[in-house]
């Protein structure tokens, strides 16, 4: 059995940042376990730019952003294993992993950082009836074929879902010579970044069909077309609005799901809203010494926030290994009125150094609204926001002074208010 102070599961942007910060905070015994043949995670196939504006004050493509962190890992001589899949974690922090060179690895860790990222929701999970012919892909799978293998999954494309991956692939496929006939979105708004709608759809005159869904897929061996229809405000199909779009490919961008199968095995408590672990402001889960960061914790839109969050997790994991005692007293963050969830869910007031970032998402688009924070019954923050959308993660900073002023706060409420 191998032993390490910190084992990081996942060598994407989250895992790499966490490992780097843990090392910089004095921990040498670190092991990063990555299932692909190289580090970098999903960034390796995200060849568009838009990464790094906050972190490096530059706009980089995914692989360039990843390379910065891969270089930092090499500079620090942080140990990592590639082509290694973690099969199990126990709540005693024993990890079982496998690769072709080492065979089965049993690793005991003092602390584990969960950084497994997320997976895509498949067609089957949203039950689109029709054919199961070739040509139906989730957007990320198509992205892998195009950007890593250099092959096109199709020529005449319809995309379901206007989340960022769907929008990015609309542009990507168009630039590689395909015709994207429509992006179909169930909701009355796009769930991706507004800038992506502009530069991926508007730039190429790709129609965005809001409040529409796909009700049938036709095709014997390969997709031949899809039938779309409009939906009402309850997202039910409106009869008579059916429209057939001939195409040979359907790309699905219908949701990302944090990959917590391993977390469950370790008895980590998960949030029903995010699908990710419930954590406190140290990003520690209900299991002492197991931390989480990045998309496995909650799906992010900006990798810069992933990096920030993961640095924090690395720091905290290092503190844990060095023997920091967890403070039992803590406040619980609740949400209502338009706020879907927060990460973290719990705060240890005595542990706040300067401030803590509370990240959250809203449940629909809002214009000219206030983000209000209540410490027990008292409103302590009331910030005006011009525009808020579900596709754009928001942050509220809770400062140390707030906690000093409200020493025994037990419930923090974050909600939206009209005035």
């Amino acid at each position: 059995m191998l032993e390490y102070d910190i084992v990081v599961i996942g060598g994407g942007p989250a895992g790499l940042a966490a490992a780097i910060k843990a090392k910089d905070n004095g921990i040498d015994s670190i092991l990063v376990l990555e299932r692909e043949v190289k580090l970098g995670g999903i960034l390796n196939q995200c060849i568009h730019n838009g990464f790094g504006l906050h972190t490096f004050k530059e706009e980089l493509t995914g692989p360039e952003y990843a390379q910065r962190f891969i270089d930092m890992v090499s500079e620090r001589n942080i140990e990592y294993k590639l082509s290694t899949m973690v099969l199990d974690i126990t709540k005693d922090k024993v990890i079982t992993a496998v690769n072709g060179d080492d065979g089965i690895l049993i690793i005991k860790a003092k602390a584990i950082i969960l950084a497994m990222g997320c997976r895509e929701r498949p067609r089957g999970a949203i039950n689109i009836p029709g054919s199961r012919s070739a040509g139906i892909y989730t957007a990320g799978t198509a992205q892998k074929f195009v950007n890593i293998d250099g092959y096109m999954p199709g020529r005449q494309v319809v995309i379901l879902g206007s989340g960022d991956i769907g929008l990015i692939m609309a542009r990507r496929m168009t630039l590689e010579g395909a015709k994207v006939k429509a992006v179909v979105e169930l909701m009355p708004y796009s769930s991706g970044l507004r800038r992506n709608v502009a530069q991926c759809l508007d730039d190429f005159n790709i129609p965005l069909k809001l409040s529409h869904t796909i009700i049938d897929i036709k095709g014997k061996e390969r997709v031949e077309g899809v039938t779309i229809a409009q939906v009402d405000k309850n997202r039910k199909v409106i009869k008579g609005t059916e429209e057939y779009i001939p195409c040979d490919t359907l790309l699905l961008s219908v949701g990302l799901l944090p990959e917590n199968e391993l977390s469950r095995k370790a008895s980590v408590e998960l949030s029903k809203v995010t699908g990710g672990p419930i954590v406190d402001d140290n990003l520690e889960t209900n299991i002492d010494g197991i931390f989480a960061c990045g998309n496995v914790l909650h799906v992010h839109d900006l990798v810069d926030y992933v990096t920030e969050e993961s640095y924090h997790a690395g720091e905290e994991a290092a503190c844990f290994v060095k023997g920091r005692v967890k403070n039992i007293k803590r406040a619980e963050i609740e949400v209502s009125n338009g706020v879907r969830y927060t990460v973290p869910k719990y705060v240890n007031p005595d542990n706040v150094d300067n401030f803590i970032n509370v990240r959250f998402r809203v449940d629909t688009t809002y214009k000219n609204v206030f983000v209000s924070v209540y410490f027990d019954q008292m409103r302590v923050m009331h910030i005006n926001k011009r525009v808020m959308a579900p596709g754009e993660m928001e942050t509220v900073k809770l400062t140390k002074s707030l906690f000093e002023e409200h020493k025994d706060v037990s419930k923090i409420l974050i909600r939206l208010e009209e005035e």
């Binding site: 060849i47 730019n49 493509t61 692989p63 360039e64 890593i148 250099g150 507004r194 800038r195």
Partner: protein, 121 residues
């Protein structure tokens, strides 16, 4: 006089801009929260530009293609000319981030550079 509404793509915030255009020139930009937005609003209405990211074929490398990008943004109407030029490219591994793939692509004065490492196998 025209008031054009557009979303700034200068950074992921995506401010909603209102640009006043008179005689083909952008007179005023409103709604931006930084200089990037102001500049974008003006440029987009007079001479829209984009960064183009794509891939080119690599021979002898660990991956069959390597991502590339325009080093700076280029006029929007030249996007597909750039793509045409990229079609002809075949690089040889190893490729490193920053390697120049095409100098002055499609007469834009901007280079195409590699955006990922691709080791020789």
């Amino acid at each position: 006089m025209e008031i054009r509404e557009l979303v700034c793509i200068g950074c992921p915030v995506g401010c909603s801009l209102k640009v006043t255009i008179k005689d083909g020139k952008a007179q005023k930009v409103e709604g931006n929260t930084c200089r990037i937005g102001e500049q974008y609003g003006i440029n987009e209405c007079t001479n829209p530009k984009r960064i183009v990211t794509s891939t080119v074929i690599v021979e002898g490398g660990e991956e069959r293609v390597v991502p590339v990008k325009t080093e700076k943004d280029i006029p929007k109407e030249k996007i597909f000319d750039v793509i045409e030029e990229l079609k002809k490219v075949k690089m040889r591994a190893p490729v490193n981030i920053g390697d120049i793939v095409i100098k002055d692509v499609s007469g834009t004065g901007v280079n195409i550079i590699a955006a990922k490492n691709n080791k020789k196998i």
